[in-house]
Assembly symmetry: D2
Homo-oligomer: 89 residues x 4
């Protein structure tokens, strides 16, 4: 992995924010808030989670994948593609 | 809305489970776990959030949307479609 | 359905454009063009197809779905949601 | 690229099939067929296009990307990730 201390902290903060969003969604359901308002929050949390996933994927590609290929381990490309497929579907 | 007490509780439980998944992702990042293992959890949380969104959307369509149309309020269909578009993109 | 003559023609034109995009992709593969350039065209065709789908879905929701609900046929809402789920996944 | 003659032909055939699907969608719109039936075909064409994209992406990752990294060109990883992001959004 190639994350610096600062990138690691930014990533953790983004995940904490998503945890807060999910807790907010739970509260909205509890309070019987208007469905469309809840759905806007669900979609926002989902988009934020996608961003977190892409950011981890990018760090992995630039770090582990490059290192492994340089050392002749090409199986890591299959693993990368399997993960990309799960996100694209 | 047309959720029964039991459906409401199931929905809350699903959202709580997602909150736990997100906390688990945070811990994995903190512990510098292997990116691909983290990404599998991110994708699982994202899929669970999509299911929660679709379940709220379905309750909304069967409840509020049907009621509003029966009372001649067709603007609710525009609102529904705007939300569907956000999820599909 | 509530499509005017003009909307119908616009929809047909959009689908024809997608057909052209797909033929273009075929040619690029045939000519062994650079993968990333092909992928940009694939993604463009896919986004255009999504727009066509959403536009048909919207016409359906505003036309058939509203009419059916006004006549007391609520099964159409299940059918609508099944289709939305296929697009969101 | 690492596609064999046979893989190249299979890819071309898949793209031709999608072209046929798109032409079928056009015909269905022309004949004013039921929206939900059209949408099922739109979704099928979209899923097929996604598969074609993933298959090209995989060939690119295993071919060009590995070769470039082995020759010290790491910029190809940024290009790959930009393309992945377009597909995931």
């Amino acid at each position: 992995m190639k994350r610096t201390e600062k990138e690691q902290q930014a990533l953790i903060n983004n995940i904490k924010r998503i945890e807060g969003q999910v807790r907010g969604i739970q509260r909205m359901v509890d309070e019987d808030r208007y469905c469309i308002d809840i759905l806007i929050q669900v979609q926002a949390a989902r988009a934020a989670l996608t961003q977190v996933g892409l950011s981890i994927l990018e760090a992995h590609a630039k770090g582990c994948v490059v290192n492994a290929i340089e050392q002749g381990d090409l199986a890591i490309v299959d693993e990368l593609m399997d993960t990309v497929k799960k996100f694209v579907k």
